[in-house]
Every structure is written in C-alpha cells, then in structure tokens.
Symmetry: C2
Subunit: 226 residues, 2 copies
DNA sequence: ATAAAAATATGATATATGTCATATAAATTC
DNA sequence: GAATTTATATGACATATATCATATTTTTAT
C-alpha cells in the first residue's frame, strides 16, 4: 500500500488540508484500484459509501435521460475527488462515472472522510468550496443548454477541452472523445455533431485528422461560442 | 426589530440548527426589508456580503445568457436562504434575484453567518446539504435542457410548479408566471411556450383562463414529460 | 373611463436540428 | 491479413422550434 503522504495528486484536491497524522491514517484505510478505459467506477443510483481520489486518468460523469440517451455532465481528471456530493447528502450517487482512459483511483471509506470533515475545518471548507464551484458551473451549463444553439455549444466545448486538458505536441486536443461522446456533452445527435465539426473544419476553425481534433482559430471559435 | 426566535420560517431553513443564544445574536444584526413585486434583491456580479432569509414571498433566480435573454434557473420561496453559495465561495453572486410577488426578506451579514458556520456543526452541515441538493437538481436540469424537447420541458415545469407551490381554491396554480417567464424557465421562445400551452389546452391537459393555468390531467402531463 | 402600453394569441415562414439511409474509413477480432 | 464490427461522414428528408407579422385581450397610466 503506497503512502498518501508521498502522493502528489493529493495537493490538487481538498485533501491538501490534511496533516501528517491524518495522511498516515488515510493511507491505512484507503484502497487503490486500476480501472481500464471504458470501465465503470460507479453507476447512477448506487450506494458508494466513500469518495474516490483520482490518481491518474480522466473519467466522464454521465446521467441517463428518460429518452434513453446518456448525457455527459462533466469530465473529471487527475487530482480531483468523486462522490463528495453523494456522501454529504447521504444519498446514492446521481451520476455514473466511466473511465475515458486507463485510470488509477483510490477509494476512501465514508467513515474516514467524515472524520476529517468533523475535525479538520480547512478540509471541510475545501470540500464545500469545491461543491459550490460545481454548483456555479452547473447553473451556467443549464443556461448554456437552454439558451445556446448546438453550434455555439460545440464551439464552447472545444475551447473548454482545450483549456482544461491542453494539447499534444502536434497541437491536437489531448483529451480524445468519440464524436458520440462529444455529442452527448453538448446535447445533440451524433450526426449533427459530426456535421458541425465538418463545417468548422471547412471554415478553417479546426483541423480533423482521424479522431484527432486540432483547434486552428481560437478567436473565431470564441466568437462563435458567443 | 422583530425577534428571530419567534420567526416561524426559520424552522424551514438551515437556521433551524441555531440555539437560543445564537438566535438572539442573529436578531441583533439582521435587517429586514420589504421588496415589491418586480424589484431586484441582488444582481449577477454583485458582492452581496451575506445571506437573505425569505420570510415571505417568492423570487426568481436568473442568469443572463450571452444572447441577451434571461434564463430562470430556480424559484425560491418562503423559508429558503439566498446567497449561500456566493458566501462560501467568497465570490460575487452568479445569479440575479427578482421578486415575483411582494416579499419580506431579512439580510444577515456574512461575518455573522460565518460565525455560526464555524461554531455550530449542525448549521454548517445543513447549509452543505442544501447546496448539495441544489447541485443534484442543477445537474438534473442541465440534462433535461440538453435532452428533452420543449414540449416535455413545459409539461415537466407545469407539474413542478404544481408540486412546489400548490393550487388555489379554484385549482389553478398558485404561482403566477407570465408566459415570458415560463418560457425563460423552460428555455424557449415566448411564442413557442404560448403555442404549446394552447395545444395542451386543446388536448384537455390544462385549462387557461386569463393568466391562470389549471392542470386538469396530471397523469397525461406526466406521460408527456416522460 | 379612455388612451396607451404591455401581454397573450395565432398565422406564415425560415431555420436548426433530428432521423433514417447509405457510404467510407478505422478499429477489432479471428 | 482478411473479415467483421464499429466509428465517422454525408445526403435526403422530416420535424421542432425560432422569428416576424399581426390581431386580440389585458393591464396600466392619465
């Protein structure tokens, strides 16, 4: 069992507030897991009873709509925590988590986290601020979905992927989503998504090579995203 | 200055965790305000520096979209608190609050609330649970906006208004929204909203008398909302 | 009470987006 | 490495929704 004290990603999450003793205690009760691309970490409605700390990799948080389509609510990556809302609400998770790449995640049981929560004020404050940030973002998403066109949402999403995950040496977006996944992030049909990508390509805003997307004109994309 | 101890609505919010001493202290620093229908409580981007406790009335929380349209993110009524997220994030508010009816609200300065927050565990836990509930709801809204049709969203919203605010003696919805406001809740053009209401009316799902809306077939509406 | 303004309603039309069909390209399996 | 499956791409068409125009009703102001 690796030590949490020496884990770098801890510094990126609420867990950075924990002191040495707490980290030792944490290391003693956490369990580590390798999750392959496409595997499910947890499913909507499940009782998770703890939180996951992402040591490496990226996953999507999805919610099933009554029309049978999955909607990607959020992408979560290295250093972030999963399942905090559900733990605090004391409810099953409302979203599913599925790995977009091979991942390494640690599971921390609820009892342990709640202990830190009670005793370490900075930790609980960090968690709260994270959740408040998520709420602000979620409201903003709702408005985007309700008021923007698919084209605007696609432009915005491409820029968001660029800003959040960066690019490879060849300038293509580091995060690789299928057209289907991209469509389910912006809330449209896969074909519509493909068509608009193709339009952006013809307009010289992006370059498509196989599955790779390269943004070639950020400012015009920004203009389109409004 | 009225006493918080005797205020009934306190029981409906996170404030119910406060003890007698805390309530006396609260009563000493809170300020009460009457807000007329249509008046703004706070505006997106403003520094609010405290929270509002709604003693009476209902308001809408809106966010301006880049297309110039306001989107109604949430309706908030008697007994609920406003501005919690902003206070915890230590950021300007991300939503505007506008009264839908005449209201009575109390303002509690941030310093005071944060004091309770630090010392009263139950209070901070209540606030967190509220915000977690908001987040769950917001994610669900996002998915609805992204995946459901306008018709489905209208049906769902009517049912939600019915469940949340109840009905008058004549069975019409207690909460009165203009067609414009209803449209800005479901994220559509005012004309589309009016047209669909008219369709629902012709199908016998609702009854329209002036501004009043009466739901006459809940189960069919539920079916439409999916 | 009357005039003016705003809200509601409906028609006509344009546009965005979804759906279904089919072709091609890429990835996976045997 | 060929065969099969899956993902991407594009066309044709249907449908949902937005926009603009105009009529009617309701509310507000004088």
């Amino acid at each position: 069992m690796s030590k949490c004290e020496q884990c770098i990603v801890r510094e990126f999450s609420s867990l950075k507030a924990l002191n040495k003793d707490e980290l030792v205690k944490l290391a003693g009760c956490k369990t580590s897991r390798i999750i392959r691309k496409g595997e499910v970490i947890f499913e909507e409605g499940e009782n998770v009873n703890g939180i996951f700390c992402i040591k490496d990799g990226v996953c999507k948080l999805t919610k099933l709509s009554p029309n049978g389509k999955d909607h990607i609510v959020k992408l979560v990556s290295k250093g972030e925590l999963l399942g905090q809302r559900s733990m605090i609400s004391d409810e099953p998770v409302n979203l599913s988590a599925v790995a977009l790449e091979d991942m390494e995640v640690c599971f921390i049981p609820k009892t342990e986290v709640m202990g830190f929560f009670d005793k370490n004020n900075q930790f609980s404050m960090n968690v709260m601020k994270t959740i408040c940030g998520d709420l602000k973002e979620a409201d903003s998403h709702t408005v985007n979905m309700a008021q923007k066109t698919v084209k605007e949402r696609l432009a915005e999403t491409l820029l968001h992927l660029h800003d959040t995950f960066g690019k490879n040496e060849d300038d293509s977006l580091k995060i690789q989503l299928s057209r289907d996944e991209l469509a389910s992030m912006i809330g449209t049909a896969t074909e519509s998504c493909i068509r608009l990508l193709s339009d952006f390509n013809k307009l010289g805003l992006i370059k498509l090579v196989g599955k790779k997307i390269t943004i070639t004109d950020i400012s015009k994309l920004k203009k389109i995203s409004e």
